[in-house]
Symmetry: none
Subunit: 213 residues, 4 copies
DNA sequence: CATGAATGAGTTTTCATTCAT
DNA sequence: CATGAATGAAAACTCATTCAT
């Protein structure tokens, strides 16, 4: 009101330096949210339940995340961040297109098979308003925060340019890549198939056949 | 309600006669539910809203469906039933494997593209607890009520036997078929690609390349 | 979605014909709200408590009033409506300015003294954001729904024109009229004074002295 | 904080020494509370917000005030204490009743007009449970801590004795005095009238007419 | 003394389901 | 059969207060 000598007068709804504080609670909340959403979907995961499973008070969630929406998006973000280095380890940057393609395909599939909870969460997430909004954002705002996609995208573009991959819109190639992969993993988690190394390899082969020229 | 092309397939599942005079409230409720769920998701479709759009009283829903869950599952079941004959029309039973495969692939894709409401509902459904439960049921109880799948399944089996299709588990072939198809249609509805006849054909081609030997 | 044959598809959040339905619950809720707010203020009147006192379920409140805000404003509106005819009974339209002034002054005071609950509610209301917003509306939007004020206003204007009342802004005259009146009634409810007929008459006299020329 | 003209009146009420070195956190909290309550009401002034604006930790508030209630009552008390000397400056003790009355009336009005924040706080306060409780206390416990009132009271008593002021209960005279004054100032802050020196004088005149014989 | 992270009781609001008419 | 008013359990979110550091 003009007289305000007291500098920082705006009320911080989530100040949180977080520089090096106890990341315990935050991590516990994120994990609890992911587990519950994977198990019961968004509907079956009220904040109170998340708090209980995380071993914190309900209010505590709101110290770390402004919103339930923010919490959920954060679960996703951290998951993506966790996945990226795993996929990039031993990335055969110098090898053939096919080998790099296989690296991603089998790497991602193995990660999802080894982390069924994470996979279930991602399934819930991508087909929810959250995931759709995120993908839309990514397309229209060029928010290329998800490096994993970028790398695969470059791979496709390089392949198209080299005449090794079919000249289809990137979105279609992505649909073939992720659509098949996710469906296969889902079938595995539901018990339709038992994916072993050999089957993973042959599935990757089939997907490669789909996109290669 | 005058638009109900499919009222033929709607017959009383509940113990009330409805021989001829009752206006088809049941169908109206099913249609309203599908529309609303497609538009707003399960969250955005309270029973009162469904009733209003169907032009019936709230309580009426519970005369035809024991539960909201039952209603939703019924919407799905009727939709599947509606799709099957559409896909079987002009089925080239006597032509090559490839041609029959194409018939299904492009037929299903075209149906989904032409009926975005139905597609959105199916998306909502499959990734919800409802869909997961249904698929789980289908595995463990062998309830193969979905004839559409059966036909495609026979196609795959025939192809494998003839050495024309890769000898992969049927589930994997399904994943390649439906996983890609659904992802492509979704990208279209989200505006990521514009699917025209040519692109549909080329996508079908790619999927065929994936599974053919 | 274009195909909507079903006419009234917009979801009515509070349809409510109310033409001749049971006004019981609505009235009970209004009364309960007024009582609680009078007794405990807005803070001390959670919806659950209002529902309990009204003898209805919590949800029922939301069938009759979209909002807690709407409920509160409605309590006020009905109260005003209830007061108006009381003040207009035996209004000496043909008598002197002074007599008509006295009629309002003592009439309003008597009503407030006889209805301490209503008075307490009005006190809470006028000094809350609700009341301020309402008065602001009334000034700027010319929403002259409150006839009581209008009549008093005309009285003042007539008096000014006739040279019988001081030529002060209407707002000031209102402040003298209502400000004093409300303070006096408040003092009575708090036990500062015991207002009897004689004292009411003399207070009216004093207020008249304040505004008369 | 550097603006604290009134830090003189602030001395340790709690059992901590604060001889000189401690920055006056107590005063900062009081000021922050008053500002926020004036701006946003009691609802819009959570303790965390008050602490932030005061530049202290949340917990600190509870070192100086046992309770939020106590804090608010203390804000009021200090404000009253601050107003009193201002009104007593140049008090024309030797002049006529009318002149002394005018001194208070215009002095208080001017103070409230010049300190809209303080006025808004007082408005919030008097009509809240806090203010009501306080006034009730004052009646029943005869805690006449408010000297300002006492002086005005003496003025009225003197006037009555001298036959210059109507022989009405003191409470009624107070109601006329403060009720009108506060209503007028409120109308000004709400933009209903523009109070200038001339209008203030004439309003004082009207109030005097109300109480004089 | 000062802090601010943690808490959980309490608040408003929604909605699937029932049942008297 | 059809209705829709009534319900209350449950959900997201807030905030005064405490207490370990």
């Amino acid at each position: 009101m003009g007289l305000n000598v007291h500098s920082a007068t705006t009320f911080p709804r989530k100040p949180h330096d977080m520089t090096r504080e106890t990341p315990d609670k935050r991590a516990a909340i994120l994990r609890a949210a992911m587990e519950l959403i994977a198990e019961n979907g968004f509907h079956g995961s009220p904040t109170a339940m998340i708090a209980t499973r995380a071993g914190v008070g309900t209010g505590t969630i709101y110290r770390y995340f402004t919103d339930k929406d923010v919490l959920i998006r954060e679960v996703h973000r951290e998951l993506e961040e966790r996945m990226h280095p795993i996929l990039m380890v031993h990335y055969p940057a110098e090898r053939s297109l096919k080998e790099r393609f296989d690296h991603f395909y089998t790497g991602l599939m193995r990660f999802l098979l080894d982390n069924p909870m994470e996979f279930k969460f991602l399934e819930q997430f991508y087909d929810s308003p959250y995931g759709v909004a995120m993908r839309r954002d990514k397309i229209f705002n060029q928010k290329t925060s998800e490096q994993r996609c970028d790398t695969v995208k470059s791979l496709f573009e390089e392949g198209i340019a080299a005449g090794a991959i079919k000249d289809l819109p990137i979105a279609i190639l992505f649909a073939i890549f992720f659509g098949t992969l996710v469906s296969v993993v889902r079938d595995h988690t539901l018990g339709f198939v038992e994916l072993d190394d050999e089957l993973i390899r042959r599935t990757a082969e089939a997907s490669w056949d789909a996109i290669r020229r």
